[in-house]
Amino acid sequence: MMEWEIVIGLETHAQLRTNSKIFSGSSTAFGAAPNTQANAVDIALPGVLPVLNRAAVECAIRLGLAVGGKIAARSIFARKNYFYPDLPKGYQISQYETPVIAGGSLAIVVGQAGQSYEKTVALTRAHLEEDAGKSLHEDFHGKSGIDLNRAGTPLLEIVTEPDMRSAAEAVAYAKALHALVRWIGICDGNMQEGSFRCDANVSVRPRGSEVLGTRREIKNLNSFRFMQQAIDYEVQWQIATLEDGGRIEQATVLFDPATGETRAMRSKEDAQDYRYFPDPDLLPLEISPDWIARVKADLPELPAEMKARFESEYRLSAYDAAALTAGREICVYFADCVAAAGRENAKLCANWLMGELAARLNKEGREISAAPIPPLQLAALVRRIADATISNKIGKEVFDALWSGEDKDVDAVISDRGLKQISDGGALEALIDGVLAANPKSVEEFRAGKEKAFNALVGQLMKATRGKANPQQVNELLRRKLSDRDVLRPPD
């Protein structure tokens, strides 16, 4: 059987966070009554002229700087011609031959902790364009309804090279880009409202082949889960088609979440010819080095920079560092936590943040900004674990108390509930002797080579101390006692 290689390129439309539209002074606020935010320019009354929004250009510059792309000193707007009722001009103003951003790249981390790898996805370009309106196909006496509020909303279309080799890589890229556009404040990233949507160009080819297979473009993926499902289905469909002796026709396809399948939208005969040409209404866009420098000075430390810092300064794995820089909120939380807990405890902070805290937030559907445990409290907890006042396991009990809000102070929880770890060697030894005396059968089994019996004894000891015994010390002392032939030698 032939081995296939999957090739994926992504095009992402990020809706830019401006107050007004890209070419008019209408509001871009989401959710207004239909057509109340569509002015003469947006509905394309004759004689109107577009005037470019400075803030939209600035968003493009921010992205260009963040991905290390080349920001064009001069770029051109073009008309992309097609007919659809939600595009009243009969063309979309976009950029074609000279986009505002060329090149750049985005580093991604793919896979689960422990078996993840890093990869760099090259970007082809990013260009500014306007969004279209919305068509509503509910039945209006056999007609369609058109809402032009979205028409003219500024978009940045960000296009990658065909660099991704699996659905997992595509999703990792989309997540990294999603985090980045929010981080630099150019897009709110709200996928349900359509602020961030992806098209995936998918093809397959025999492994080792240099030639790209024919691609099909999956349109409008508005969740990471759908992206994964859609690409998985599409790849399997393409491979099955080719292995059955069929061929792939270039097509635009839609993903149906209900069936989990992709289906072709337009046949090849209807393939669009957009007849691009420079928009005579818009002169070239010039971006001066001064402007770029001002935007650069205003840019926050970027996730890639912070990730590198977390790896080198805090000795975190690439996976951990990527997870902790996946969003600005979690990153700020982590940085505050480490600042209070001490750099030497960074890994422990990361574990608690990505383990217990993330799991709890996830379970309750909360954002990290709404976490009931602030970073300083988590730092205090981490410090008490690090200095062996409590064990990691008891830490969870303290965490629960902090989470429920019963208590705010870590040390108070520990002393009020008597959770302090027993690390006194003498006291532990006495306890161990008791446990050994009470469990001669386990002792015998251990000596017969059953490692399980050891764990049973540890369990007994933990039970006797309600989990408060210092686990490391228990392990050491118990092993020493058990290797001592005279201890509890069963009577001959």
């Binding site: 002074g25 057509n35 935010q37 209006f140 007609k143 939208m265 002169l283």
Partner: protein, 95 residues
């Protein structure tokens, strides 16, 4: 590169222009006259010359990002053929 009738038909469909079979030939011939002119232009040597998107050596002016428009839906929809629930109604379109 003269156009043939199939191409004329396709262009007409893309532009949503109705060209009858009777007019097809004449349209083709007239467009081909234009193409001949373009071919003449394309014969000029333009190596090393940056393509020009506009006739003026000017850059575009930018606007500040401010909402300057208010809701004038009623006035705009007064001249629309059909509206309902604030929407413009058009012949049904489905992908």
């Amino acid at each position: 590169m003269p156009l043939n009738l199939d191409q004329i038909e396709r262009l007409a469909r893309l532009a949503r222009i109705e060209i009858s079979a009777a007019d097809g030939g004449e349209t083709r011939d007239r467009l081909n006259d234009v193409f001949a002119l373009i071919e003449q232009l394309q014969a000029a040597d333009t190596r090393g010359i940056e393509p020009m998107a506009h006739a003026f050596e000017l850059a575009q002016r930018l606007r500040e990002d401010a909402v300057t428009e208010s809701d004038r839906r009623e006035a705009y929809q007064a001249v629309a053929p059909e509206v309902e629930a604030g929407l413009y109604l058009v012949p049904r379109v489905m992908e």
